[in-house]
């Protein structure tokens, strides 16, 4: 058989991709958006309760309460991941449970659990940040850039 002509091959590929896009099932966008809104909103509501608890009962200032509130939410996310519940929530809510800080906890705890069998050093330690690592790297870079812009604007 003759070697394939790259131009003709590209055309065949494009035509095939059109067929695929045509036949591909469309995700239920409206249902997904509503589920993400409700669950994401509910997680934030819990966060607000926790925040109110720290400011109201423990008399912390709003600024002081931010740290313990985040820590509590991270604990909840990690705990629910450990119980095997968070992946079920994620399946239903999509971005609604990925975007809040509980989702961030889930993205660190789930690989840590998954790779425990490869040992605590190379498994848990080495793989813990496989999902969250890129987020941390680029979030840190973004915060530096924003900090620089803010500093330049002030001076």
């Amino acid at each position: 058989m003759a070697k394939k002509n790259p131009n003709i091959q590209q055309q065949i590929n494009d035509e095939y991709d059109q067929l695929v896009q045509q036949m591909k099932p469309k995700p239920p966008y409206l249902r997904n958006i509503i589920a993400a809104f409700l669950v994401g909103g509910f997680i934030c509501l819990i966060g607000q309760f926790v925040n109110n608890f720290y400011t109201g009962y423990l008399k912390l200032s709003v600024k002081e309460a931010a740290g313990p509130t985040s820590a509590t939410m991270i604990f909840l996310g990690a705990f629910l991941t450990g119980l095997g519940v968070y992946d079920e929530i994620g399946k239903f809510a999509g971005a609604g449970s990925i975007v809040p800080i509980t989702g961030f906890a889930n993205s660190i705890v789930s690989p840590a659990m998954e790779f425990k069998r490869e040992g605590y050093v190379l498994g848990v330690g080495g793989k813990m940040f496989t999902v969250a690592g890129p987020v941390l790297v680029y979030a840190t870079i973004t915060s530096i850039v924003i900090g620089l812009i803010s500093w330049l604007l002030k001076s």
Partner: protein, 337 residues
Amino acid sequence: MSGTKKVGKQTVKFTHQPKIISTASIVGPKEGEGPLGRYFDKVLTDNIYGEKSWEKAESKIFKETIELAIQKAGLTEDKIDFLLCGDLLNQTIASNFAVRDFPIPFLGLYGACSTMVEAMVLAAMLVDGGFADYVVAGASSHHDTAERQYRYPTEQGVQRPLTAQWTVTGAGVVTIATEGTGPNITYATIGQVIDLGQKDADNMGSAMAPAATDTIFQHFKDTNHSPDDYDLIITGDLGKLGKKLTQEMLKQKGLDLTGKLEDCGVLIYSDKQDVHSGGSGCGCAATVFSGYLYNQLTNKKYKRIMLVATGALLSPTSSQQGESIPSIAHAIVVENN
């Protein structure tokens, strides 16, 4: 080509008609709950099967399936000439670790999810060519070992796209022999690697459909058979979308398989099981053939079927480097005499 067993460009015709004298299949709980549940030899109550890791569990499942296939054939390990196995894991460890306790010469195979038919074709060739009397061929996959190698940690909360498939937990093994009772293997069509530039690793049905189309089309061209000569043409793990695409592309080429074309990945789970496009993995075609299809053949529900196992030959590395997904499909024809 001087051989008399080669027909056309890619097909071989078995002149001594090797027989499938036994099959065995062991599956996970989800597969057991599916519509084909009662056809499998054993359904596990959980995916870990008393082991310390998913990988160890997969090897244990595979090993027991091989033992069962040999036992059901009324044979002992020393009677088996060769063992041909494959799976999805890096360096095919599920197979290598499953067979290390067997004193049988072993050939390890990798054809992604097409491995079952690859193993059956080679086993049939060994038997037909007079190199062996008894060959055991099998393939396995495990949802959780595949998931952690190819995709996400199991506890990560993500929404899977509708085109995604669910890797089957299970192993299927067959014993192919020169003599004995069971359906015959009469033809095999070896696929070539086809790549139409699809890149979405969450949509493997679309990547593999062109390979299935090519192999099925080539089979009919090589043998001069018509679809009416077959009771069933069943692909390995194209899923709902891949099956639709294959049917459409074959229609465009002038082959109408309406009502004849099925897919193991579509049959193994029900819609209620939330698997989106269907099942996938080496174990999909392997368990559906060893369980359901073999049963239908021996009960004379089908006279002649063609099993076309499809494989997406990607790796997580190739996907991350932006490569498209090369795919392959091998076909084997099994019939009652």
